[in-house]
């Protein structure tokens, strides 16, 4: 039987209190796993290669600072056949891009007093060479999605198109960032719940 990734990351044992809680939302449990499958083990990987999918996951989970989840995706990246140089560049890019979010600007007006300016990140030149233009552009975009999504604007999507991402590829990239934002929080939240039961 397929391993449920969220269960594995939390260490949920069959018959445990958390197992029972997750089963009360059985469809959410199964479809979170189906989301993982759709994004990381798709029937047809289309325009986004498995190596790219797992490299993006290592980058994004690394930005969240959860070493265990990042190690899970790093193992999948290695299994996908990624060269050591690419794996090292992915780890290096993620470590160099850490920050604290959410920050960013609101539309000009009454909310401007809540603006929390912060940096747009660009992967360093030496790492860009190892990653290639597609992944380097993806990482620049993913940093924004993780830390300051309210700064999103059409030029960010143009940069992805310019680096060879199609519209459909960008939808997949965005779903990967979104799903991982969910997954790391479901894991962190349920771990904290388990710690109090």
């Amino acid at each position: 039987m397929e391993t449920d990734v969220i269960d594995a990351l939390i260490g949920i044992e069959p018959g445990s209190a958390l197992d029972a809680i997750r089963n009360r939302r059985k469809q959410a449990r199964e479809q979170a796993q189906a989301s993982y499958r759709a994004l990381f083990a798709p029937e047809d990987s289309g325009g986004v290669a498995a190596i790219e999918r797992f490299a993006m996951a290592v980058f994004v989970t690394g930005l969240h600072g959860d070493a265990e989840i990042a190690a899970f995706y790093a193992a999948r990246l290695a299994e996908s056949g990624a060269a050591a140089e690419l794996r090292a560049a992915t780890d290096g890019a993620s470590a160099a891009a850490r920050g604290q979010g959410p920050y960013g600007a609101f539309p000009a007006g009454p909310l401007s007093r809540e603006d929390a300016p912060g940096p747009a990140h660009r992967v360093a030149a030496d790492l860009r060479r190892a990653l290639g233009p597609r992944l380097a552009a993806a990482f620049d975009h993913l940093h924004m999605l993780v830390f300051h999504p309210r700064d999103a604007a059409p030029p960010a999507l143009q940069a992805l198109l310019d680096a060879g991402w199609s519209t459909t590829d960008i939808v997949t990239l965005s779903q990967i960032a979104g799903f991982l934002s969910f997954q790391v929080r479901a894991v962190a939240g349920l771990r904290a719940l388990a710690a109090t039961i």
Binding site: R22, A38, M144, V146, P154, T172, Q175, S181
Partner: protein
């Protein structure tokens, strides 16, 4: 989809962008080309889950990756609509609205603050969350839910056992606490899609 002509971004038509958080009905304008209604195959329609979603540019854009859309939609529906005990719908929507307020998704916050106000009948408190932000005083039970959603939405994640204990003191059982976690976690997914693939516009 042509192999030769590169894709391009869309320029939304003239519109008025909302500049405050609001419970009013907003529109959402895509920055990338959704699939055309007439181009939707059975697989796309199946991924949309509800036939009415074919009218939405947002869902037709996400339908470009149908398997991811379908699984995401079914996850969403169970987290928010499963009526079996746990957190009342109004408070699942509150967690979604608080997450959206904190991340800065005006569109998502409009939808889910409307739902929260409808189901809770606490329009003034919901509006205070939108107007004042996640520090608004909404009474301890709602404050605990908002604080949990905010801590879980921070990067790095700031949620810990102390948030669980506060929710429990406020009267939530373990399933209800899991519902808060799922609702807030899920809106970190939704907010990022809505914020980065298009923009809100006022209607009417």
């Amino acid at each position: 989809m042509s192999d030769r002509i590169p894709d391009s971004i869309l320029r939304p038509p003239p519109h008025t962008a909302p500049v405050v958080f609001t419970r009013a009905l907003l529109d959402w304008l895509p920055w990338l080309e959704p699939l055309a209604v007439e181009a939707l195959t059975e697989r796309h329609r199946d991924a949309l889950v509800d036939a009415a979603r074919a009218k939405s540019a947002y869902f037709r854009l996400l339908a470009r990756d149908p398997d991811a859309l379908k699984a995401r939609t079914l996850t969403d529906k169970d987290i928010f609509y499963n009526p079996d005990a746990g957190l009342p719908r109004a408070e699942r929507e509150l967690a979604a609205a608080a997450t959206s307020r904190f991340n800065g998704c005006i569109y998502c916050a409009s939808v889910h603050s409307r739902f929260s106000a409808t189901y809770s009948k606490r329009e003034d408190d919901v509006q205070r969350l939108l107007d004042e932000g996640v520090g608004a005083d909404l009474g301890e039970r709602w404050n605990a839910i908002v604080a949990a959603a905010v801590a879980l939405s921070a990067t790095p994640i700031a949620f810990g056992p102390e948030h669980v204990k506060r929710l429990r003191r406020a009267g939530l059982d373990d399933l209800a606490i899991a519902d808060v976690i799922h609702a807030a976690a899920f809106f970190n997914w939704a907010n990022r899609l809505m914020l980065s693939l298009g923009e809100p516009a006022t209607t009417g």
